[in-house]
Symmetry: C2
């Protein structure tokens, strides 16, 4: 049997963990990924470097979990009724929700009210809110920028943060296919990019304003096509 | 009257200009935008710093023109018959074609054979080729990554390089609207993002393979919609 830590020790650990996450996110937002170090995170969090290495093996690991935690927090704040939307929100960008701690939200997926357009619009509106939230925007940009030039890091963050969220759209589109609302011959993994990627590009490259109207329009165009019916 | 430079001087200038472009592109690909300096470009090009400052006011200016020149070159290699495609190719990514020197290509725009799907597929296939070309890929990634975290620089490059290319799609979609192939109530500036942005995101974030099949599929989905007809 492994003895459980005393409540005080657990509280202290939890407090350190939160301080480390906050330090990691603010530091990467300020100085970028290459200049972020475990030493710098430790100093800002007011813990010893060894405390970090006890729990994580690298700065990439700390940042990965810090983003998972940030997304979980935002989801909690947004309330239970939108848990599904929140779990799926931000499938557009670099880092985001899922992971062990948010397994419940992930299983919940994107709500299925039977109205595909309405469900997608609600998730994308929640994503717009998150992209415009400075707590998310600055660290997510720093990490995404690094992933653009550092393919290995980019692939790790995509597979652990972004792709699990995109899979929520895949699941919702599959259920829409079963309901006859999406053509059977459509590949859901490509189809989701028609509304997710434009939002991601506007956010990342500053190519246009990000609004609810905009994401609603993307969903309508994607579902019903540009050609006359 | 301004006296023209002697032919030899013009040749020397042209040679320096080409050396400076090549140095700027290779340097930014290797060390990233922040560490690229006018001094570094000059040293690699084998010219004096003052030669660069005589023609450009900053490293951003040099890089901007180096990208315009790179795109022009690629277009020339691809031959005259595809000039329009080449002018529009790479509307997906950071830097690209247009500018004063390529005004002719730009006016040409995306060919209009009357078959919108075929025309868009041809342009996007040419874009796939460019994104997979290491001459373009490495410097474009470095610059795009910087634009993600440096909004001011990002906006300059978008407005001078990316947006003029996106406007070629706007023009082609407008002509398709006049021909009754695209719904009148569709906003072309948003519509183009349904096939341009997914390719850009796959390229930038390594979220999936980039192939002709993929871009063909994007065009089909965008034009005819995901919902059954």
């Amino acid at each position: 049997m492994v003895s459980k830590p005393a409540p005080d020790a657990t509280r202290r650990s939890e407090k350190s963990r939160r301080a480390i996450y906050a330090a990691a996110l603010s530091l990467v937002a300020e100085v970028g990924y290459p200049k972020t170090t475990v030493e710098g995170i430790a100093a800002r969090a007011g813990v010893g470097k060894q405390t970090i290495y006890r729990w994580w093996s690298s700065k990439a690991d700390v940042l990965l979990e810090a983003f998972l935690d940030l997304a979980e927090q935002t989801a909690r704040e947004a309330g239970h009724d939108t848990a599904g939307y929140e779990a799926a929100r931000q499938g557009t960008a670099g880092p985001g929700t899922p992971g062990d701690e948010t397994a419940a939200d992930q299983t919940a997926g994107i709500p299925d009210t039977g109205d595909l357009a309405a469900d997608l619009k609600a998730v994308l509106r929640a994503t717009v809110d998150e992209l415009l939230d400075p707590r998310f925007d600055a660290p997510a940009r720093a990490l995404t920028a690094e992933g653009v030039v550092n393919e290995q890091l980019g692939r790790v963050f995509v597979s652990r943060l972004l792709e699990p969220q995109l899979q929520l759209y895949v699941a919702r589109l599959r259920s829409a296919q079963e309901a006859g609302q999406v053509r059977r011959d459509v590949d859901p993994r490509i189809a989701l990019e028609l509304f997710v990627s434009p939002l991601a590009q506007r956010w990342l490259q500053h190519t246009g304003p990000i609004t609810y109207d905009y994401t609603d329009t993307l969903v309508d165009y994607a579902l019903y096509g540009l050609a006359p019916r």
